[in-house]
C-alpha cells in the first residue's frame, strides 16, 4: 500500500496534467483516459481477484460507454457483439442438455465463488436467486432479472428431448452459457463463457428450468 499511496500522488498530478492539457473543460475522451489511469492506480490483486479483471472485452467496453452516455448501444455494434458471443458458445459435448434439477437448485441458491475471499478453484455458485424468482418455494429472490417460475411449462416444454422442444432447449443453454449472445448489454453474467459454471453445472441449471419434474414447472 506504500506503493499505492505513491500512486495517489501520481494520479493527483495526472489529474492536473489532463485538466491543464485541454484548456477549459476536459472532453469525454480525456475523462475516459483519466478514469483508466485512476482505475489502474487504485486497484491491486487480492487472492484470485487480480487486476486483469479490469481489462474489458468489446461487450463490456461498448456497453459501459453507452451507459455513461445514457444512450442505447449502436445497433450494428450490438449485433457484432451478439454474433461474436454466439460463436463462442460451447454446446454440451455429449449432446445432452439436461442434468439433475436437485443439483441445479443447489447451484441456483449458491452465491459463492470468484471473489477475493473465495478460495481459488473452489466450486462456484450460479447466483441465480439473487436476481430471479425460480421455484415457488424459495421466496427470498431478487428482481433484477425476470421471474423464471414455470419457465419450461410456460414455453410448452413437456418433454425436453422431443424435437419440438429443441429450439427452446438450445436457446436456454446458450442464454445461460453466454447471455450476451442474445442481448449485447445483458446484465446477466456469462456463466459458461467466463468459466463461472462448468458444463455439468449448466446441465443441472437447465434441468431446474426445463425438467417437467422440477419444482419450477409444478
Amino acid at each position: 500500500m506504500k506503493h499505492s499511496y505513491k500512486y495517489l500522488a501520481a494520479v493527483a498530478a495526472t489529474t492536473v496534467v489532463v485538466l491543464a492539457g485541454c484548456g477549459s473543460a476536459p472532453g469525454a475522451s480525456d475523462l475516459d483516459q483519466l478514469t483508466a489511469k485512476i482505475a489502474q492506480a487504485s486497484f491491486r490483486d487480492q487472492g484470485q481477484a487480480t487486476v486483469d479483471r479490469l481489462v474489458q472485452d468489446e461487450a463490456d467496453r461498448a456497453c459501459s460507454a453507452a451507459d455513461v452516455a445514457g444512450q442505447p448501444i449502436d445497433e450494428k455494434v450490438a449485433k457484432a457483439i451478439e454474433e461474436a458471443n454466439f460463436k463462442a458458445i460451447k454446446w454440451p459435448a455429449d449432446g445432452k442438455f439436461l442434468g439433475d434439477w436437485k443439483e441445479g437448485e443447489k447451484i441456483a441458491q449458491s452465491g459463492r465463488g470468484m471473489t477475493w475471499s473465495d478460495k481459488a478453484g473452489s466450486e462456484n455458485g450460479g447466483n441465480c436467486y439473487n436476481c430471479h424468482q425460480i421455484s415457488k418455494q424459495e421466496i427470498s429472490y431478487g428482481t433484477l432479472g425476470p421471474s423464471l417460475y414455470h419457465y419450461g411449462k410456460l414455453r410448452g416444454v413437456s418433454d425436453p428431448n422431443a424435437p419440438e422442444a429443441k429450439a427452446i432447449v438450445e436457446y436456454t443453454w446458450g442464454k445461460i452459457w453466454n447471455a450476451k449472445a442474445y442481448n449485447a448489454c445483458s446484465a446477466m453474467p456469462r456463466a459458461g463463457h467466463k468459466g463461472i459454471l462448468t458444463e455439468q453445472q449448466v446441465k443441472h441449471i437447465m434441468a431446474l428450468l426445463l425438467d417437467p419434474n422440477s419444482p419450477v414447472n409444478q
Binding site: 499511496y5 495517489l8 493527483a12 489529474t15 482505475a39 491491486r44 461487450a59 455513461v68 477475493w116 431478487g142
Partner: protein
Amino acid sequence: MKRWALTLVTILLGSTALAQKSASDGIAEYRALLAEGNPAELFEAKGEDLWKQKRGPRNASLEQCDLGKGPGVVKGAFVELPRYFSDTGRVQDLESRLLTCMETLQGFNAAEIAKTPFGKGEQANIEGLVAWISAESRGMKFNLPQEHAQEKAMYEVGKRLFYMRGGSHDFACATCHGEDGKRIRLQDLPNLSKNPGAGAGFGSWPAYRVSSGELWGMQRRLNDCYRQQRFPYPGYGSDATIALGVYMGVNGKGAESIAPALKR
C-alpha cells in the same frame, strides 16, 4: 448485541412467513425499535474522545484538522465531502482526509494506516472518528462542492467507474444500483444514479452493521461492494473510491444525512 441479533432473526422469520413484500417492513420495524439505541453512539463517543486526545508520535490532537470548512470545524463538514483540498492538491473523502491530518498533525504514517486491515489498530480508531464527525452533520443536507476543476473531473470519473462493467461476472456498480425498485434476494437496492436512492444510499454510511457488530465507513462499504462485484481490491482512500463518493454524493444533493445509520 446478541439480543439485537435475536430480535432481527425473530422479525425476519416472522416477515418471511408473510411473504417477501413485508420483509422490508419487518426490517424497517426492527430499525425503528433500535432507532433510539443505535450502537453507533458508542463509536461516536469514542470518536469525539479521539479527536480531542493528544496522540501519535507528535502527541497532538486532531482539533486543528481542516475537514474542508477550516481548521477544527467539524459541524457541516461531512455533508460537503469529498471535496478538493489545496494543501494536498487532490479531492479527498472523509477517511483519506483523516489520514492526511493524522500524518501531518499527529505524525502517524498514513501509508501504514492505509494498509492496516479494517477494524484493526488505527483503522478501528478511524471508525470512531468517522462516526462522530458524520454525526455532527446529522440532519444537514448533502451539498458537495463542484466548483473546482478536480471536483468536476472526479464526478465524471466516478460516473465512468459506476458504469464500468468488468471482472468474471461483467458486473458494474450500475448492474445492481442503476434502477429503481430492484432487490437482490430480499435486500432493497438503492438506485445510486439519482435521488432518492443516491441520498439514501450514500447518506447512510458510516453505519453500524448489526450483522457483524461493526461500524463501517464508506471506504469499507465500497471495499465490500467491489469484493461482491468480483473486482480486484480497491486501495484504502484510492482515487477510484473517492471518485465514486463524489458521484454518489453529488447525485444525493439535498438529501438529509442520517449517518451514522443502522444497517442490517
